[in-house]
């Protein structure tokens, strides 16, 4: 799976969690600008585990990992 494929899947999942059209979510937007709170963020982490079989909740994530959807896709790509 390429980083771009991961990015597309992430956009699809995030769009369904925040109830927005996926075309309105740019891959260079930081997560906190998507209007997410703790619960929404955890829903995204659960989506990542279910989709990519990766548990990120305990892996010491910081703002850099979530700077953009692109940066998260690249982190997931490295871990897969």
């Amino acid at each position: 799976m390429t980083s771009k494929d991961i990015e597309d899947k992430l956009i699809q999942g995030i769009a369904s969690i925040i109830n927005k059209d996926k075309s309105s979510i740019a891959s260079d937007i930081p997560f906190h600008k998507l209007g997410l709170d703790s619960l929404g963020f955890v829903e995204i982490l659960v989506f990542i585990e279910k989709t990519f079989n990766l548990q990120l909740i305990e892996s010491g994530l910081d703002k850099k990992d979530f700077e953009t959807i692109q940066s998260l896709a690249s982190l997931i790509h490295k871990k897969l």
Binding site: H32, L36, D37, S38, E49, E58, K63, F66
Partner: protein, 426 residues
């Protein structure tokens, strides 16, 4: 009646305004606005062989409960706000009341008291947002167009709801292995609630958000705030020399997914997450935060909040006292040590009828037991925390202690040496 997880409770949202509004004009504008929403004059009905539903009377009463007060200082204002939320609605058809408090024509407070069957907290804020828009658009009647007022009376998808109920029941039984400690409910029939508002300025709020990031992680404000409240509660139990094995916090969460919630304005859309923590980890904030984060993750993954929403529809066919017993028996009546919520978004515009909104906070009455809740919200760069408690449950001294402990732990700025030690330097 669409969702009844908070049926029967009352709450109050308070807008702090930087000057006075002419109360007669406010009253007439509110009256015109409310009359666009006949749903507020509805009520629960149950016809023969039908599940309960929200029925809007053909001849709505259209009589807005509005009171205005003048007072000379903030102390009197706080007493008045307490009176407003403790005053019951006049009957089953009243679900909304407005109170305007003017302090020496310099500052004013607009409080909207509401029945949780009509709105939840976010719905109430959005309703006030629509009032702002109604005023800005010269009383445009289209403000209420496209908002659904009714929910189907029938109960569909029985199997799904019963399976959800079974999952919730399993979760409750799992939690009951170590029943949480609660504060003893005062005897007597006193149902009055008292409130303590802790308001943080913008700088303190920034420190709290920085601490949340450093201690709990990215976008993890809720686990940080909850951990601090749990630690303060543990301290209170310790001071009372009450030995507790564990504490349980019920956290209310909004189940709407979109930012624009006009379509889901009415009725209740909240569900719950449950966080249990053993008293032995209370002195270790890092471990406590990790435990809260993992419990949140596991419950979201297992779909517990959705199951609670689904199962709550069973209240349409099973009486609430029966369902309450199902929860009460395994937990021995100790449903939770306290209720908690954190609302990080607010839809309101910065002013209302030309007057600037300085702050917004909520004053919910909490179900008993536990009769104690902590409610934080964010507005205009500031965080508020309201402690809501049944009169007599905790003393004034104890509320002061809770407030002081929470404030100190939230706004703590570690000294450079402590910060270095935490990073493993030096």
């Amino acid at each position: 009646m669409k969702k009844t997880t908070c049926a029967g409770n009352m709450s109050q949202v308070v807008l702090v305004l930087d000057s006075a509004i002419k109360h007669s004009e406010l009253h007439s504008r509110l009256m015109r606005f409310i009359n666009e929403f006949p749903a507020v004059y509805g009520g629960i009905h149950r016809d023969i062989n039908l599940c309960p539903y929200w029925r809007i009377s053909e001849k709505a009463e259209e009589n807005l409960n509005f009171t205005s007060y003048n007072c000379s200082n903030e102390g009197d204002m706080r007493t008045l706000l307490g009176e407003c939320i403790n005053k019951p609605f006049k009957d089953n058809s009243e679900h909304l009341a407005f109170h305007f408090i003017n302090i020496e024509n310099q500052k004013s407070y607009l409080a909207m008291t509401f029945d949780h069957r009509l709105f939840d907290a976010r719905g109430a804020e959005t309703f006030l947002k629509l009032f702002q828009q109604h005023h800005e658009n010269n009383n445009d009647p289209a403000i209420s167009s496209g908002i659904p007022f009714t929910a189907p009376a029938h109960l569909s998808g029985w199997l799904k709801k019963f399976l959800a109920g079974r999952n919730v029941n399993r979760k409750i039984i799992a939690m009951s292995k170590t029943p949480p400690e609660i504060l003893p409910i005062p005897s007597g029939r006193n149902k009055r609630f008292k409130f303590r508002l802790i308001s943080f300025n913008q700088q303190e709020t920034q420190t709290i958000y920085d601490n949340a990031y450093k201690k709990a992680g990215y976008l993890m404000e809720m686990p940080f705030l909850l951990a601090v409240v749990m630690q303060a509660m543990h301290e209170l139990f310790r001071k009372r020399e009450m030995t507790a094995d564990s504490y349980l916090a019920s956290v209310t969460i909004d189940m709407r997914t979109g930012e624009d919630i006009k379509q889901e304005l009415f009725f209740n859309h909240v569900s719950y997450l449950f966080f249990q923590a053993q008293s032995e980890i209370m002195s270790n904030q890092k471990e406590l935060i990790n435990s809260i984060k993992m419990q949140m993750y596991e419950q979201v993954k297992a779909g517990i909040p959705r199951d609670i929403m689904e199962a709550s529809h069973l209240t349409r066919i099973a009486p609430l006292p029966f369902l309450k017993k199902i929860i009460d028996i395994p937990l021995k009546g100790k449903i939770s040590t306290f209720i908690f919520s954190h609302v990080s978004k607010n839809p309101l515009s910065p002013d209302i009828m030309g007057t600037r909104i300085e702050n917004v906070f909520h004053m919910p009455r909490v179900s008993v037991p536990p009769g104690l809740g902590f409610f934080s919200n964010y507005f205009n760069g500031r965080l508020n925390l309201v402690i809501s408690y049944l009169d007599g449950l905790i003393s004034n001294e104890e509320v002061n202690m809770l407030g002081k402990n929470i404030k100190e732990k939230l706004t703590e700025i570690p000294s450079p040496l402590v910060a270095m030690a935490r990073r493993g330097e030096g």
